[in-house]
Symmetry: C2
Subunit: 249 residues, 2 copies
Amino acid sequence: MDEIAADPSHPRYASLLMRHRLEVAQAKGMLADSAMIAHGRGEAFDYLLGEVTTPSAHKATRHALACMMEGRRTVLSVNGNVAALATDEMLTLADALDCPLEVNIFYRTPERMEAILGHISERNEALGLDVTVLGHAPNASIPGLKGPRASCHKEGILDSDVILVPLEDGDRCRALLEMGKTVIVIDLNPLSRSAQEGTITIVDELSRALTNMVGLLKRGENVVVDSKYNNEATLKAALEWMLNSLKQV
Amino acid sequence: MDEIAADPSHPRYASLLMRHRLEVAQAKGMLADSAMIAHGRGEAFDYLLGEVTTPSAHKATRHALACMMEGRRTVLSVNGNVAALATDEMLTLADALDCPLEVNIFYRTPERMEAILGHISERNEALGLDVTVLGHAPNASIPGLKGPRASCHKEGILDSDVILVPLEDGDRCRALLEMGKTVIVIDLNPLSRSAQEGTITIVDELSRALTNMVGLLKRGENVVVDSKYNNEATLKAALEWMLNSLKQV
C-alpha cells in the first residue's frame, strides 16, 4: 500500500509517509478541503513534541486502551484524515478489540462517504480481516448537532459507551461527551477544544498512538484502567514537554 | 477579489480569508502539493503567537524595510504560497519601493509559473500598478542549487543586493546568503532553517507583515536602518513570546 520514494532510514520517513497517504486519499476523494491544512497544524505540534510518544502520552494510551477493552459497546470513529493516515491501524485495533469502526465525517457528502467506505473495505479485505464497518446507512442522530454531521448508526456511535475519536472536531466531541460517553481523543494540539474537553486525551501522532495500542495488545501486556487517571495532568505534561523543547533551542 | 462568506467581524476572519485565497490559488494551479500542509504548519505557529505582530517582529519589520529602501537593487521574491496569500500586498510594496517582483518557485513547472505570473499580472492591472514582474524568462542561475529551482533573472535575483524571500525553502535561502545578499525572511516558524539563517527574520504572518510595511511607507514614518539590529535576539524574542503563550494556558 505504501509505495513511496523515500527510504525508511530517511530521518523524515514517517512524516513523508503520512503526507504520501494523504495524497493518495486526496486523489481518491476522501478528504475535506481543510484536510491538508489540519495536517500541517498537526505537523507543527508534532515537531514540538520531537515526533515521539511522550511518557504522559504512553500513560494516557494505556488507560484509554483499558477503557476501550472494558467498554460494553466500544466504537472507533473514522473521519477522512483518520482513514487517510491510519486505516490499517484502525482496522487492526478494531479487530483486536472485537468492536466496529464507524465512518463519521464532518463535511458529509455521499461521494466522500463512498470513497472512505470503499478504501476501508479494500483494506479490510487486503488485511484478511472481517471488521464490522458502519457509516453506510445511518439510522440515528447525535443530539445537539445539526444537519448531516449529526448522522450516525444506532448500533454504532449512538449506543456506544466508549468511543475513540481521533482528530475530531470540537463541536462533535462535545456532543458525544454530553451523551455521557467516555470520549477518547487523539490530537497533537493539546490546546484544541477536543483535546481540552475529551475524557482521555492522547497527545500523539495518530499512527504512533494506534501502533502503540496494537503493540500493547499483541505483546499481551497487562493493561488496566488507571483509577487515578487525571486528564488535566496529561494535558499539562504535553504542554510542558513542548515548552521544554522550545526552551532547548 | 476576496469574496468569502465570513463576515470581517468574525474572530477567525483573517485566517478564513487566507484559506480562501489558498483555495482560489489551488484552483488556478498555482500551488505545489505541499502548499496546504505548509500553510497549516504556519497556522499552528501563528496560533502560538496569538495571531498578532509582536514588538520584536515590528522592530525586525522596520529594520527590514529600511534595508530594502537602501538597497541598490532590491528584489521581492514570490513563490506559489506568497502569490496565493499576498499578491496585492507584494505588488503594493514593490510599487512603493520601486523595485521588481520575481517569481521564483521551488517545484518549477511551466504550468505553475504561468498560473502564478498570470495571477500577478491580473492583479497588477486591477490595482492600476505597473510593477516590473520577472520570472518569465530566466537567464541566470543561483550558484549552489541544482535543476530548475536554480533558475532566475540576471537583472532580478542574481544581481540583487537585498532580497525579500517570504516563506522560503531553507536550501534556497542559504544559497542566496552565500551570494552575499541581505536576505530578509518572513516565516512564522522561528525554528525553520530559513528563519534561523536569514539576515533579518520577521516572525509574523505574511499579509500582516506586508501590511505593516506598506502602512509605515504610507504614513511616511521615519524608517531607518538599525545599526544595532541583532537577528538572534529577534528569534529569541519570538520563541519567548510563544513560550509565554503556552505557559498562560
